[in-house]
Every structure is written in C-alpha cells, then in structure tokens.
C-alpha cells in the first residue's frame, strides 16, 4: 500500500513522460550532438568537431537563407503587428457586426497553410491569375510575383536609373509575395490577441483621459500603447518565432529543388529541410538547426531585456 502511494504519481506521468523523452528531449539533445558529427545516408562516420559549423561559414547558400529569413522576419513582424493593432482598435467597444468581422478575419488562421498556399499560387499566377488580371485591367504592368527573383527596391528604383545591388536590392518580389500571404494568414490571430488585450484595459483610464481633454492620439500614446504593452510584447515574440519557422508556404508556393527563383525564397528552415531530407546530410542539417535555435533563443532574451524595461504591467 505504501509503495503504491509512493510510486503512484509516476504512473500518472509515465505515458506523457515517455513520449516527451523519446520524441522531444532525445531528438533535441541529438540535434546538438549530431551537429558535431558526420552523419549522412551511409550512417554515422564519427565526430568531426566544429567542421559542420565551419562549412556553414563558407556556404553561400546558407548565408543566402539567413539573409532571406532576416528579410522575411523584418517584413512580416512589423506588418503583422500594425495591421492587427489597427483592426483591433476599430473592433473594440460595442460595434455592430463585431463577431461577424472576427469570424471572417479568423478564417485564414484555421485554414491549413498548404491549402492557402495552393490558392495563393493560383492568385499570383503570372499568366492567368486574378491579381495580374486586375492589374492589367487597371492599366498596370503584370508582375511575375512568385517567379520574380529581382529585389523589390531594385524594381522600384530602376525606372529612376538607380540600380541597387546585393542586400540593398531588397527581398525578391517572390519573397515579398510569401510575406504578404504570411501576414494575411496571421492577421486574424493577432487581431484577436490585441482585442483581448484592449478589452483588459480598464475603462476608467479612458474616462479620466476624456476629462483631461486628451485627443485620440494622446489617448493612444499615453494610455492604450503603454497598457497594451504586455500583449504587444507577446505578439512580437510569437510572430518572430512563427516567421522563423515558416516552411509550408515556401515549400508549396516555391517548390523544391530551387527555393524560389534563384534561391531567393530559400529560408533557413527550407534549407535545413533540404539538407536533411534531400541529401540526408543530418550532421550539417543539425548544425543549421542549432544555429537557428540559438538565434531564436537570443532574440527571445534580447526582446525580454528590452521589453522588461518598457512593458508596463498594471
């Protein structure tokens, strides 16, 4: 009887623990150790120290994937913050049709990334897709969208005779097309988060501001923005992580082998996927995984540091 009570709790936790240990902890730790090994289709060939990391440093495709990921995150995160914040500000308080709007905005969130990608591939189709048809009907020049390797700054500035090169050319239109879909898909989720955050702000603050004669902008700056900061901070971290993880959109809309036109949509997760499962280069793919994880970890720490000073918890 006594033994039963002592061991009892462990029986409750055991099923979950086995799954967590075998399919989470073990592979997570393995990706660290595997990054120091030569492990490919032929199996394990021994430890190689930092060779995989050294290879990363001189791998142009890898750095391209880092740059593309940075572009992607820098594009998606601010847009995915500002648009939902704006929509949530409109939706707060009593408003006719509020739940109707919310339902519509939320639809892309629950729809699978694969189906959404198939649909947007068609919308972006240069020859027959609806987007180019609208542009042509309005008298504009049709674009190549997902097949356009040129950077958007290059495209915008070249009519003026300016030809930015390299990083300055900006993300390719193909990558920007993916960013648009990503923002479109996450808008509803972030709007709902902001809405919940806004509804948590006590109405008395606004009444006080009104008595003080504060305008719309003043109220936003001094009341809404600081009091909303925990939500903003959470949305910021979540969208950063989600953007770094983006895979299905890239894989379906700009399918392998390329990673988009001239590799311009080749983001880090896509690249590590290719190394791991097309080449079965597990060692090298693991080094990329570790690098990805360290970036995410340090971003979270940095964001927490910065936010720690600014976030206002009431």
């Amino acid at each position: 009887m006594k033994i039963r009570t002592k061991l009892g709790p462990y029986f409750y936790i055991l099923p979950a623990l086995i799954v967590v240990l075998v399919f989470r902890t073990l592979p997570i730790l393995s990706s660290f150790t595997a990054s120091f090994t030569d492990y490919d289709i032929g199996g394990f060939h021994g430890f190689v120290g930092f060779a995989n990391y050294a290879r990363m440093l001189s791998d142009a495709r890898f750095w391209q994937s880092v740059l593309n990921t940075v572009f992607f995150v820098l594009g998606v995160v601010p847009a995915g913050l500002l648009i939902p914040l704006f929509l949530a500000m409109l939706l707060r308080r009593k408003l006719a049709g509020k739940s109707f709007y919310r339902t519509i905005y939320f639809l892309p969130v629950v729809t699978s990334a694969v189906a959404i990608s198939v649909v947007w591939t068609w919308l972006y189709n240069p020859e027959a897709g609806p987007i180019n048809q609208i542009i042509t009907a309005l008298g504009g020049e049709p674009l190549l969208w997902l097949r356009e390797p040129r950077g958007i700054f290059e495209m915008m500035l070249s009519p003026l005779g300016i030809h930015p090169k390299g990083v300055l050319a900006g993300p390719s239109l193909a990558l920007v097309s993916l960013m648009i879909v990503s923002v479109w898909k996450s808008t509803g989720y972030n709007t709902v988060l902001f809405l919940a955050g806004l509804e948590n702000i006590d109405e008395s603050y606004y009444e006080a501001a009104k008595l003080d004669g504060a305008g719309v902008w003043g109220t936003f700056r001094h009341i809404t923005w600081p009091l909303l900061s925990p939500t903003t901070y959470y949305v910021l971290i979540m969208s950063t992580i989600v953007s770094f993880k983006t895979f299905a959109l890239v894989y379906v809309m700009t399918p392998p082998p390329g990673g988009g036109p001239l590799g311009t949509t080749n983001v880090m997760v896509f690249y590590l996927f290719q190394k791991a499962f097309d080449r079965f280069d597990i060692g090298y793919a693991s080094a990329i995984s570790v690098f990805l994880f360290l970036i995410l970890l340090s971003l979270t720490i940095v964001q927490r540091r910065i936010a720690g000073k600014r976030v206002y918890y009431s």
């Binding site: 409750y12 592979p27 393995s30 519509i104 729809t111 189906a115 591939t121 993880k245 499962f277």
Partner: protein
C-alpha cells in the same frame, strides 16, 4: 432611441469602411478559390479531383490520425496534468520544467534527429510515426494543470473520505469540472493535427499513408497548371475545418486567446 450624434455616426462609418475593406481582403482568396473551382467543368471538377488521386484515402488517414492523436493527448495530458497539479512527489518540479523546456524548441530544429529515431524504431512510413509522437502535448498539459490547480483541495479530501480512489476522483470530479479547458485542448489538437504538414511529409513515403495536407501538396505539384482541379481540391480540403470553425467559432477564438494571454 438615443439621438444620433453626427460625429459618432461619421466615426462609426469610417470604422466600418476599414473593417469591410479588411474583410474583403480576408475573404477574396476564398471566394476566388470556390469560383475558380467551378469554372469549365463545374461541379465535375470536384469529382475529377477527388478521383484523380485517392483523396478519399488521404481524408481517412487524416481523420484516423487526428482521432487517435487527440484521444492520446486527452489521456496522457490529463493524467500528467493531474499529477503535476495535485500530487507531491520527488522530481515533480524538475519534470515539469523538463516538459516546458521542450516547448521552447521549434519542431524544425529537431526534425532530422526525430527521423533517425523513427528509423531506428522501424516506424518510418507507418501510422505509428504519424500518431505516437503526437499522443502527448506539453501545452495541453500546461493548460490542464493550470485549471486543475483551481479545483479546491477540500473536494478531494471529502471524496477520499467517501472512499473514492485517486483515478476515480480524476474521472468523476476533476474532468467534469474542467469541460471548457478540455474542449480547448480537443479543438487545439484537432486543428494542429489536421493541418500538420512538415512531419507527415517527412515520415511517410507511400501514397496509401498520405494525409490530406501531404496529398494536396503532391497534387499541387502534379497538376500545377490545372487550376480548376487544384481549387476544387483546396476547397474540399478546407471545408471540414471551416465548418468546425463556424460551429464552435466562439470557443476556438477563445481558445486561441487563452493560449495567448497567460495569467
């Protein structure tokens, strides 16, 4: 009726203008999808897409995997959460942190080693690979634990005095008191399982094991210029979750928010 203030009316019109604009942007891709799917062949496109590749099999696979995964999560997560929330034992906090720490690492990071582990188990290209690794979910454990902790301990003591066992107490008292959280857990895991793509893409190869998302992605590559068929396939792949969403819309939105803002 309150007198209508012209300033408020103008404000409200401006609000609706932007909200409708946003709504159009959100809906248009779906409308185009359905519209294109009905071009040329009409409803026949649906039949053709459905029969061209075994979408029936893909659906059944997804359904099967989703059902077993969700059932697994419910069992393992409520047992684990129950022990974390109500029992005192050595290593409890350590185990809880160990569980939580796995949430910090995104799936792509450990995908390659997971494949190797599955290969060693001989599970590559089996239902086991699709189901077993997802029969628990740390986030669900976390949600359930938070809720179980709010149930007063006096209830437990009273039940024990009445000769109720610990497992029976979980089943008869704790779970019935936790229905909203359980619904959240179920919905979350249904959506997650139904939409998961990267994992099934990696761990299965044969066509008869393909889940819906993987099947749709291959169909997209094979029929890349046959837009009517692609849109028909996208439509029937999306419909089940859209219907689920429309039925339990409030619950789903609330679940997402609950997960977002932790107390």
């Amino acid at each position: 009726m309150m007198p209508v203030n012209p300033k408020t009316a103008a404000m409200s019109i401006t609000k609706h203008f932007f909200l409708i604009l946003g709504g159009i942007v959100m809906l248009l891709p779906f409308l185009w999808m359905v519209n294109t799917s009905l071009q040329q062949g009409g409803l026949g496109n649906y039949v053709e897409a459905w029969t061209k590749v075994p979408f029936g099999t893909y659906f059944l696979n997804t359904l099967f995997v989703t059902l077993l995964t969700v059932a697994g999560v419910l069992v393992t997560a409520s047992l684990a959460a129950y022990s974390f929330a109500t029992m005192k034992y050595r290593g409890r906090n350590f185990l809880f942190l160990l569980f939580l720490s796995t949430m910090m690492v995104p799936q792509p990071v450990y995908l390659a080693p997971s494949y190797v582990i599955l290969a060693k188990l001989g599970w590559i290209n089996t239902y086991m690979a699709l189901i077993i690794p997802w029969t628990t979910n740390v986030f669900s454990i976390f949600l359930l634990r938070q809720h179980f902790k709010t149930i007063p301990r006096t209830l437990y003591e009273a039940a024990i005095l009445d000769g109720c066992g610990r497992l029976k107490y979980l089943w008869k008292v704790v779970l019935p008191l936790s229905k909203p959280v359980i619904v959240t857990v179920i919905l979350f895991n249904i959506i997650g399982s139904w939409n998961s793509f990267m994992w099934p893409l990696v761990v299965t190869h044969s066509e008869n094991l393909r889940v819906l998302q993987v099947g749709l992605s291959y169909f997209n590559q094979e029929q890349s210029s046959n837009f009517e068929l692609l849109m028909a396939a996208s439509t029937f792949s999306t419909i089940p979750l859209v219907i689920l969403f429309l039925f339990v819309q409030k619950r789903i939105v609330a679940s997402y928010t609950r997960s977002g803002i932790k107390d």
